[in-house]
């Protein structure tokens, strides 16, 4: 296969994961105006939990479920216990709070699970599929990655746009005060929002762990790339987050392929700075009317 095509396919699957992380960040940003810098560390932790289950005899899919459900739970707990009390504090305080959580989780993981690098099983074969006579740089696992991220996004879209619960969550994010006047229990909606975002992050964790290997700081770069993607798309837009994540995936794949894989994060830095210099609020940022 031509190098370009390989890099493109690689960028697509990586981009899907960054898109998932970007989406998780944007979901929380839209609901609570917070960047959850601990999102990556939370996903790392749930991935470790999945590996713990697998180590103790559980089949892969049980571990998968463990990761996603613990993500759900962890998000809810973090919102309720740690973030809710600082609801009215200056945003800098809340950021420092999430950074503290990041530090804590990245230290807790090696204490609980050991600090050595572990391998994490992929859901399906990572051997490239066969198309006719040649082998494509696209494996069943890659297909699963794309498919599951897509499925999650579709489900979230349906939830938010088509259900009453999603309506209440959107309202709570747009204007918590008015939502309360409408009888919406905004606190619960926020907790649910964090839980779902954390679920998406957990998914990203198990999808990328096989290729990155599992160690306490393995999600740092995923967080960085996801954040860059979210910013590219404009933090207020879920669609933008997904597009931004995919774009970053492609860009990094090409940087890594043509310039050397050590420079991927530098590439992300350059892209991020370049975009932010031109549009300090992200590519697709709109001035949205919130309440009139």
């Amino acid at each position: 296969m031509s190098r370009f095509l390989v890099l493109t396919l690689n960028g697509l699957t990586q981009g899907a994961i960054y898109a998932a992380m970007a989406l998780a960040l944007v979901m929380i940003w839209r609901a609570t105006r917070i960047i959850n810098f601990a999102q990556g560390a939370m996903a790392m932790f749930t991935t470790y939990l999945a590996l713990f289950a697998v180590d103790h005899g559980a089949p892969y899919w049980a571990g998968f479920v463990v990761a996603l459900s613990s993500g759900l739970l962890l998000g809810a707990i973090v919102e309720r216990v740690i973030v809710r009390p600082v609801e009215t504090a200056p945003p800098l305080n809340v950021v420092i709070l999430t950074l503290g959580l990041l530090l804590f989780l990245e230290a807790l993981a090696p204490m609980a699970f050991g600090g050595q690098i572990r391998s994490f099983p992929p859901a399906f074969s990572i051997v490239g599929l066969h198309l006719g006579n040649s082998q494509v740089a696209f494996s069943p696992f890659d297909a699963f990655t794309l498919g599951s991220v897509l499925a999650v996004m579709v489900l979230l879209l349906l939830l938010f746009q088509k259900t009453n619960l999603g309506l209440r969550m959107r309202a709570s994010a747009f204007n918590p005060e008015v939502s309360r006047l409408l009888g919406i229990r905004v606190g619960r909606m926020l907790t649910l929002g964090w839980a779902l975002a954390s679920l998406v992050g957990a998914l990203a964790g198990v999808l990328i762990a096989p290729s990155l290997l599992l160690y306490p700081t393995f999600m740092d770069q995923v967080l960085v790339f996801g954040f860059t993607g979210a910013v590219l798309g404009g933090l207020d837009s879920a669609v933008g987050a997904v597009v931004g994540g995919l774009l970053i995936g492609f860009a990094l794949s090409f940087v890594g392929g043509y310039l050397g894989s050590d420079l991927e994060t530098v590439g992300a830095l350059v892209i991020l700075i370049a975009v932010l210099m031109v549009r300090p609020r992200g590519l697709f940022s709109l001035q949205r009317l919130r309440q009139v």
Binding site: L99, L103, F227, L235, L263, L269
Partner: protein, 361 residues
């Protein structure tokens, strides 16, 4: 009696004199201290001085000017690598090395500061986060220059001959670091009291109002960034001498986060607080490893305990005491004064407001 009093007043009143006097006093105390304690404690004293310099610079940027940087570990790395590269082939006077390191990190600060001047809140945090994660990778990429994963070794600096052959090198390094720290503190303290310092605070408190008052906001932001980067570079160069090895692993994201822990513990916006925070950063790992060895705790727990503690401190501090140690002192003083009938000091400004025009809820 009155004449003597007024003469002392004239000496103490002007800011520079007051700071210089304090610095002199501190320097003498520290000098005495370093001679009384053993080599290992001199080693720790050096570490405290190093982190204090970096933390003070970061505090200027984040606490006083309101810009959150998650990338100061990377800026320290620049200072460290500059020093290491300079000393790779032949020795150079310490002062020269330190000054060049300050220059190189200051220059980086200019470049990054300009690029980031328009960034606010989460965007700046994210950009600096990316810097923190990206920069160590440059070192591993260009192995031949930067020594890859193993990094570069730095020869220890030997004390000058006139101090005597028995003079411990750890104490000499401690003197250098302490001198650098005292100089930095004096400069920063003076800066804070000057119109520039007031401009930093004004932009933090209300950017729009500051602009209307004639302050060049972008230049202020860049200046704050450059100064804090220079401090980080100085600290990084000293760090290179102190640890003897400059490798990418030592300058990752967790270093940046530890610096943030230091300034939060000490109290955002407070120079003295930077010192408290640095003391905590240096002594917590020692306490925990001491505890761990006496309790026979496995190394996977012992090694990670300090970071877990810092993370816990950050979380708890934000929940309970956002103003840090210095803020707690201030608050005790304020409450004390109020109890005694004095009017309370207006407006606790231990934490900063994050200007985020994107939000209007």
């Amino acid at each position: 009696m009155v004449a003597a009093q007024s003469r002392i007043d004239r000496l103490v009143r002007p800011t520079l004199s007051r700071h210089l006097l304090l610095a002199l006093g501190a320097a003498v105390l520290l000098l005495l201290l370093s001679t009384q304690i053993g080599a290992y404690d001199d080693y720790n004293l050096t570490a405290v001085a190093i982190f204090a310099i970096a933390a003070a610079g970061l505090n200027l940027l984040t606490g006083v000017n309101g810009q959150l940087s998650l990338g100061h570990g990377a800026l320290m790395a620049i200072g460290a690598y500059t020093a290491s590269l300079l000393l790779k082939d032949h020795p150079l006077p310490v002062v020269v090395v330190l000054l060049v390191a300050v220059l190189s990190s200051g220059l980086t600060g200019i470049v990054f500061g300009y690029a980031a001047a328009r960034l606010r809140g989460p965007y700046l945090a994210g950009a600096t986060l990316t810097l923190a994660v990206a920069l160590p990778q440059v070192a591993t990429r260009y192995k031949s220059i930067f020594g890859g994963e193993e990094g570069l070794t730095v020869p220890p600096t030997s004390p000058p001959a006139w101090l005597g052959a028995d003079f411990p090198p750890e104490r000499w390094l401690a003197w250098i670091a302490l001198a650098a720290a005292v100089v930095t503190m004096v400069l920063l303290a003076n800066l804070l009291r000057s119109p520039v310092g007031r401009a930093f605070k004004a932009v933090r408190d209300n950017e729009a109002a500051a602009a209307l008052a004639g302050i060049d906001v972008a230049r202020t932001q860049v200046l704050a960034f450059v100064i804090s980067a220079a401090c980080a570079g100085l600290a990084g160069a000293l760090f290179a001498y102190w640890s003897g090895v400059t490798a990418p692993a030592g300058f990752g994201l967790s270093l940046s986060l530890q610096l943030i822990t230091a300034i939060v513990i000490g109290g955002l916006g407070s120079l003295a607080g930077a010192v408290w925070g640095s003391v905590v950063l240096v002594f917590v790992p020692q306490l925990t490893s001491g505890m761990a060895s006496s309790l026979n705790v496995p190394s996977s727990i012992a090694n990670n305990l300090p970071l877990a503690i810092y993370g816990g401190i950050l979380v708890i501090a934000m929940l309970v005491a956002p103003h840090g140690i210095q803020g707690a002192f201030r608050r005790i003083l304020t409450i004390g004064r109020a109890r005694w009938g004095h009017t309370p000091a207006g407006g606790q400004k231990g934490v900063v407001d994050w200007d985020d025009p994107a939000s209007d809820t």
